[in-house]
């Protein structure tokens, strides 16, 4: 016999609108073992909480059911009420009649009926609930930051400045990310390198940051407070401990590779540093471009290297670091616009994508900062096409958010560096940001032509074969226009990194339909993820500009800090355990666990579970054929009783 109290929340009208709450409370009072059932306007308010606490005492309750919102919202609130009243906090059961009932129907009869069924199940389960004790674990105070763009750099610096050790992992040979490719930044037009490179250098100099370039995370084990991260150091073929960055090797190298840095516009050497301010400023060998790796002889770099730093035998190595929290800031790719054949990217040499144009403007870029076409001529007319692939139901529905502003920046720079006419083809201008509207007005004054209409097609000009024609509908005049230009700049959709799915899988992140990492809550937990202890910052979450990215980086650093400043962390008691008498040693649990908690005890011939690693997801229990695994708080008895209650109604 248990003594159950049921507390039905109205949530203002959120629930009461589509569930007859008083009827639900009356119904609850008729259920077995329920000794008190009440409804109240806001159960999470102080009076609501006090009501529960009083009833626990008055009616000597030993189980509490709150029918309210999702347990993600207020489970902790009500658990604290139980704990303060001397009840074990796991004797609480939440029935979600808001997200799962009132918000998914307009029909009050349906809503009330479903709420009753859910409550009926919850009462059956509550009778079988058992008190559990939370576990307390030690917390590792180090943090891993994945991605060395501006988000990763900023987060790493913030954390390092608080005295925490940070591992900054970057897959390229230098940090800096996309921001280092830019020439100027909107709306202030300050030089990207001038504001970024000091930060890059701080990372290198910081005693608390271990910079790991040419590295990738290859395995993640453990959980919040105690992650074991395996990092693959890709072979660089240059021993960076010996290299003194004289760069004699890069001068002599006969190999030719494509410069990723300059978006493939020029070639670079096979042994190279991507750009002069790269951090670390030490070269790596591109295996695919290296003459020695391709033909078996050359080794010129080895001959000129006085430090004997070249090592063609170098292999990938693996190191494991222990951290308490992780910040994922892996950034973005641009959509490959070659698939949109109407724009002729990859077909007509005069069509560029936005990042290529960034490099054209840059004094360290392929043209030394001069705006010239691929044939060396200066363009006389330039069209900038917004929303290529984004805001497009056939490709990506989302707005890439920064294109309007960087297109304005491009227009300004084109005006500054050429005498060309500049045309903007836009759907509508989005300039929401501090100083953005003012920047837009400034560019309008600079004699840039704005055509409200999405560029529909880019074709070769019939009259002048080396020119292009942009076709569009000017939606202000309602006329179709064909505009001859020399250069077309596409603003492609910003999309997740090609390997974002792998990263998501490594860290157990969920992704939205495009592959951007999902935040725990879009408004109230924008930097947390469903994977506890893993935070996200920057464009890997959704397209955003540099100010927002940096703000998120600060936020993510603070979030990570809330974990790693603690010595101990309390973990959910809802772990799984094995009943060895029933274990059939099939080891399904060992195979399916994403956290590596179950292991096979060869001596005893049964599986066991390392509860320190268990997150209580219940996967092992569900694949255990003889049901030898008991998921605490969700035992088979409890779940079956709940189902019986649901189906009975």
């Amino acid at each position: 016999m248990s003594r159950i109290g049921v507390f039905v929340c109205h949530c203002g009208l959120n629930i009461a609108k589509t569930v007859r709450v008083s009827e639900l409370a009356e119904f609850a009072a008729t259920l077995p073992d329920v000794v008190v059932a009440k409804d109240y306007k806001f159960m999470c308010s102080t009076p609501g909480q006090e009501m529960i606490a009083n009833d626990i005492k008055e009616h000597r309750l030993d189980r509490v059911i709150v029918t309210a919102c999702s347990p993600l919202m207020h489970e902790q609130t009500f658990r604290k009420v139980l704990a303060a009243s001397g009840l074990n906090q796991y004797l609480l059961s939440i029935v979600n009649i808001r997200e799962q009932v009132s918000w998914v129907t307009h029909d009050i009869d349906e809503g009330t009926a479903k709420a009753k069924a859910l409550l009926n199940g919850a009462v059956r389960r509550a009778r079988l609930l058992a008190p559990l004790t939370s576990r307390v674990i030690d917390v590792n105070s180090d943090v891993l930051v994945v991605g060395g763009g501006i988000a990763g750099i900023q987060a790493a610096l913030e954390l390092a400045n608080t005295g925490k050790k940070v591992y900054l992992v970057e897959k390229n040979s230098t940090i800096g990310g996309h921001m280092a490719q830019f020439d100027k930044t909107f709306p202030t037009l300050d030089c990207s390198a001038c504001i970024l490179t000091p930060k890059m250098d701080s990372v290198l100099q910081h005693k608390n940051i271990q910079l790991m370039t040419s590295c990738e995370v290859s395995e993640v084990k453990g959980f919040v407070g105690n992650f074991d991260i395996t990092i693959r150091q890709k072979a660089r073929y240059v021993d960076h401990t010996k290299c003194n960055a004289c760069l004699a090797c890069t001068e002599k190298c006969p190999g030719k590779g494509v410069s990723e840095w300059d978006e493939g516009l020029v070639k670079r050497k096979a042994i190279y540093i991507p750009f002069p301010q790269a951090v670390p400023q030490k070269p790596v060998i591109d295996r695919d471009a290296c003459t020695f790796f391709k033909k078996g002889k050359c080794r010129l770099c080895e001959k000129v290297c006085e430090q004997k730093a070249i090592d063609f035998e170098q292999q990938d190595t693996f190191t494991t670091v222990k951290v308490g929290a992780v910040i994922v800031a892996t950034g973005y790719d641009l959509m490959d616009t070659r698939s949109l054949i109407q724009y002729g990217y990859g077909k007509y040499p005069g069509v560029y994508n936005a990042l290529e144009v960034e490099r054209l403007f840059n004094s360290a870029g392929p043209t030394g900062g001069k705006v010239t076409l691929r044939d060396g001529k200066e363009p006389q007319a330039i069209a900038i096409l917004h929303c290529i692939g984004s805001r497009d139901k056939n490709n990506y529905e989302h707005c890439s958010r920064v294109c309007c502003m960087y297109s304005l920046k491009f227009a300004h720079l084109f005006k500054e560096k050429t005498s060309a006419d500049v045309y903007q083809f836009y759907i509508d201008m989005r300039a929401a940001g501090k100083g953005y509207e003012e920047f837009y007005n400034r560019i309008i004054e600079e004699d840039v032509k704005f055509i409200r209409g999405k560029g529909a097609r880019v074709a070769q000009s019939a009259d002048e074969p080396d020119r292009l024609v942009v076709e569009a509908e000017d939606t202000i005049t309602g006329k179709f226009i064909k505009l001859p230009v020399d250069m077309v700049v596409l603003s492609p959709a910003i999309i997740p990194r090609g390997d974002a799915k792998d990263v998501a899988r490594l860290f157990n992140l969920s992704t939205d339909k495009y592959g951007f990492f999902m935040e725990r809550h879009p408004k109230l937990a924008p930097l947390s993820t469903m994977s506890e202890g893993v935070f996200i910052a920057g464009v890997c979450q959704s397209p955003k500009d540099i100010p927002d990215t940096v703000a998120q980086a600060y936020g993510a650093a603070a979030e990570a800090l809330t974990i790693v400043v603690k010595d101990k962390l309390e973990l959910e008691a809802t772990t799984a355990m094995v009943n060895p008498a029933s274990c059939c040693a099939c080891q399904n649990c060992v195979r399916v666990c994403p956290y590596g908690a179950p292991f096979f005890n060869e001596t005893k011939g049964v599986s066991e579970i390392n509860e320190a690693l268990c997150k209580g997801c219940g996967l092992c229990a569900s694949v255990c054929p003889p049901s030898a695994i008991i998921a605490r708080h969700f035992t088979n008895d409890q779940v079956l009783a709940e189902m019986e209650g649901l189906l009975e109604f």
Binding site: C584, N588, R591, F600, P625, P626
Partner: protein
């Protein structure tokens, strides 16, 4: 070339004797005489003198892999396997129930095996075009070639022609006849749980008396516990005293599984058990 069961029996005896005398294994799982020559039984030879009792004929259908999991790990065992039986050995190795190095697999390439109850040749029903073991250390005879190759799933044609309601009615009718003797689970090499879920009382997953819905609960759950693991030896159906065609369901699940994940059970010891091995590119069809 017709297969000679006498020759296989002779090879089996010779190899068993060698293995037992050399001490390489401590027991040989093979077949012995039952109450008559047409009803051979599984037989465990432990001493060289036991070897004379070993027999092999067309009625030796039992899947001896069933007995592997009865011995403690690290027991050195020699086992005689036909094509499907060898897949059971492979599957058990994949599941880490037995260790490859503890086994000496005596492969029997054979066709024309017969159901001891009906005398019907079972090749097309449950050997699915496989006549040679997929894994063996010693082959007792020569590999079989030139026999008709049929898909293991051909026999499903009539079953698959039924719609959902007909299938449900079919299984209600067939499983309603089950007397809950559990011979299917005893004969199955992959049914090694002890206790079986159906024998448990807390929670009680299904009624234990031989009637629906307990019968359905037992069989449907067992079918799914064998999803991606059934190696199509057909022993469950032959062991069944009331002749329920259990193999149909197992084959249907095996077919779906192979179509979705591109892997049949027990074909290679390098494979991982398919339903508990997540791959990023796994088919999502199962969710549809």
């Amino acid at each position: 070339m017709a297969i000679s069961f006498e020759q296989i029996e002779q090879h089996l005896k010779t190899e068993a004797l060698k293995l037992l005398e050399s001490g390489k294994v401590i027991l040989v799982l093979a077949y012995g005489r039952g109450y008559d020559a047409n009803h051979p039984m599984p037989y465990v030879a432990k001493h060289p003198s036991d070897v004379d009792n070993i027999v092999f004929n067309e009625y030796c259908t039992a899947n001896l892999a069933r007995y592997l999991t009865r011995y403690p790990r690290r027991t050195k065992i020699a086992i005689a396997v036909k094509a499907a039986d060898s897949r059971a050995v492979v599957q058990l190795i994949q599941e880490d129930k037995v260790c490859r190095e503890d086994l000496v697999v005596l492969g029997i390439p054979v066709y024309g095996m017969k159901n001891f109850k009906t005398g019907e040749v079972i090749d097309s029903k449950t050997t699915g075009g496989l006549y040679n073991p997929v894994l063996y250390d010693i082959l007792l005879g020569e590999e079989v070639h030139g026999q008709p190759v049929s898909s293991p799933y051909d026999v499903l044609a009539a079953y698959e022609a039924m719609d959902k309601e007909e299938r449900w009615a079919f299984w209600q009718r067939e499983l309603g006849r089950c007397i809950r003797c559990y011979a299917c689970r005893k004969a199955c090499p992959m049914c090694y749980c002890d206790p079986c879920f159906i024998d448990q009382n807390k929670p009680k997953w299904g009624e234990k008396s031989p009637e629906s819905p307990g019968n359905l609960m037992y069989h449907l759950t067992r079918f799914h516990h064998l999803a991606g693991r059934c190696i199509d030896c057909g022993e469950c159906s032959r062991a069944c005293p009331v002749d329920i065609p259990l193999y149909l369901f197992h084959k249907k699940v095996a077919k779906d599984c192979e179509e979705m994940f591109g892997q049949a059970a027990g074909m290679s010891i390098g494979d991982k058990p398919v339903l508990v091995n997540f791959r990023v590119d796994d088919s999502d069809k199962i969710l549809e």
